[in-house]
């Protein structure tokens, strides 16, 4: 019997139109992250609650749950990457119109990508969304440059993943774990979970454990929980520190030229985006309810 043929071209072209509205938290990076990370995590207890105690084939259940663990772990890392992009975009939008130095040269954007983002109303989004944010050194370089005081000869002193003698202190000693999580993501996304020999060398160094290859990544439930806890805590700390650094930068810019922005408006923007009470150039604002 002939195999049923379906017009896959047409149906695949339709896939991109199957969408729903963006969550209302999308304008607040930390809440956008929290919502997506928690929704992703909830897949696990949902399936456990509804399947674990029914009449399932245990081997199939275990296999599918391990695959789900990988998917949820991947979602958590994606949420973290998006959080960094959204936060950086806010910083760029707050600062871009108020300074004339070369800080935005830290973003490399080719003409074809510029054309695709032409209708984006936010300079920050246009610049930040055109890049990946999966390398600790590159991430640190971008935030350091964006948050540098104007015409700083050192090109910035804020390090998102600082070394031993760099600031902020609260973010020290995180880079290796973040790089490890990024490498696990790479294994899942680019090798369908297979740890290649080159992956194993990197993972061994980052995890300080012996990682063999070729092997298939097979995460357990607690593994996903540990990564979630780590990223949740890190997101909160990054939110606090970037907010403080951006506020300080805007304070410096305003002191040099009070005509560049209205403090109350900029303070409200920061309060809403970072969900913190902000005092900027004498204006105090709380996050809108």
């Amino acid at each position: 019997m002939a195999k049923l043929r379906v017009p896959t071209t047409h149906y695949i072209q339709q896939i991109a139109t199957h969408t729903i509205s963006v969550a209302s938290e999308a304008t607040i990076p930390i809440q956008h992250y929290g919502r997506y990370a928690n929704d992703s995590w909830n897949l696990l207890p949902y399936f456990e609650r509804n399947l674990k105690h029914t009449n399932v084939y245990q081997a199939a259940y275990e296999r599918h749950m391990h695959r789900l663990h990988s998917m949820v772990l991947l979602n958590l890392v994606e949420a973290f990457e998006r959080f960094l992009k959204e936060l950086a975009a806010i910083c760029v939008d707050c600062v871009a119109s108020a300074v004339t130095d070369d800080r935005l040269d830290v973003f490399v954007i080719r003409g074809q990508f510029a054309a695709a983002h032409f209708h984006e109303q936010s300079v920050g989004k246009a610049l930040c969304e055109s890049s990946t944010w999966l390398d600790c050194d590159e991430i640190t370089k971008r935030f350091r440059r964006i948050l540098a005081t104007p015409n700083d000869p050192n090109k910035g002193s804020f390090y998102l993943f600082p070394g031993a003698n760099q600031n902020p202190a609260s973010l020290r000693n995180k880079a290796d774990l973040v790089a490890l999580v990024f490498q696990l993501r790479h294994t899942i996304v680019h090798n369908a979970g297979v740890i290649t020999r080159s992956d194993a060398i990197k993972l061994s160094r980052l995890s300080r454990q012996q990682v063999d290859a070729p092997r298939t990544f097979w995460p357990e439930r607690p593994d996903v929980w540990y990564v979630k806890q780590f990223l949740d805590d890190l997101v909160e700390t990054i939110n606090d520190e970037v907010c403080a650094a951006l506020r300080d930068l805007l304070e410096t810019i305003y002191a040099e030229d009070p005509s560049v922005f209205v403090p109350a408006q900029r303070a409200q923007l920061l309060a809403d985006c970072f969900q913190k009470s902000i005092n900027l150039a004498g204006a105090t604002c709380d996050p809108a309810a």
């Binding site: 938290e25 809440q31 607690p222």
Partner: protein, 129 residues
């Protein structure tokens, strides 16, 4: 059936916070389907951590007892102590409660006990002692 079509009790977020405190610091919880709490709390979370956020929200909740054959007066207020009588347990023994916010009755969400995480947490605590 959505909460809005069932008999509904009303309670304050502070009362739910009290109930969570009463379940003890070793119980772990997750919230499924609520954008407000999932945007503000790292789940799974202990009761006191969720309670802290609930108290700050100062909102009111609609609660439906999925198994309650009685039909209470619409909008009858219940307390943390009374809530205990209406808690449902799923197949695995975890407690499950269904809510919506009074100002958003269309969005049902679940507060669910996470027994697995509670077990891991206990094991981690025992290892560290």
């Amino acid at each position: 059936m959505a909460v809005k079509n069932r008999p509904r009790y009303v309670m304050s977020a502070a009362q739910l916070a009290n109930w969570l405190h009463a379940q003890g610091p070793d119980a772990w919880w997750t919230v499924d389907g609520d954008p407000i709490l999932t945007g503000r709390v790292s789940f799974p979370s202990t009761g006191p951590e969720v309670a802290e956020v609930l108290v700050r929200l100062k909102k009111r909740l609609l609660f439906v007892d999925l198994d309650d054959p009685e039909i209470p007066v619409e909008g009858r207020e219940i307390s943390a102590i009374e809530l205990d009588r209406h808690v449902r347990r799923a197949e695995g023994g975890e407690r499950v409660l269904q809510f919506s916010w009074e100002d958003d009755p269309e969005t049902d969400w679940l507060l669910i006990e996470d027994l697995e995480t509670a077990q891991y947490s206990k094991q981690l605590d025992a290892k560290s002692e």
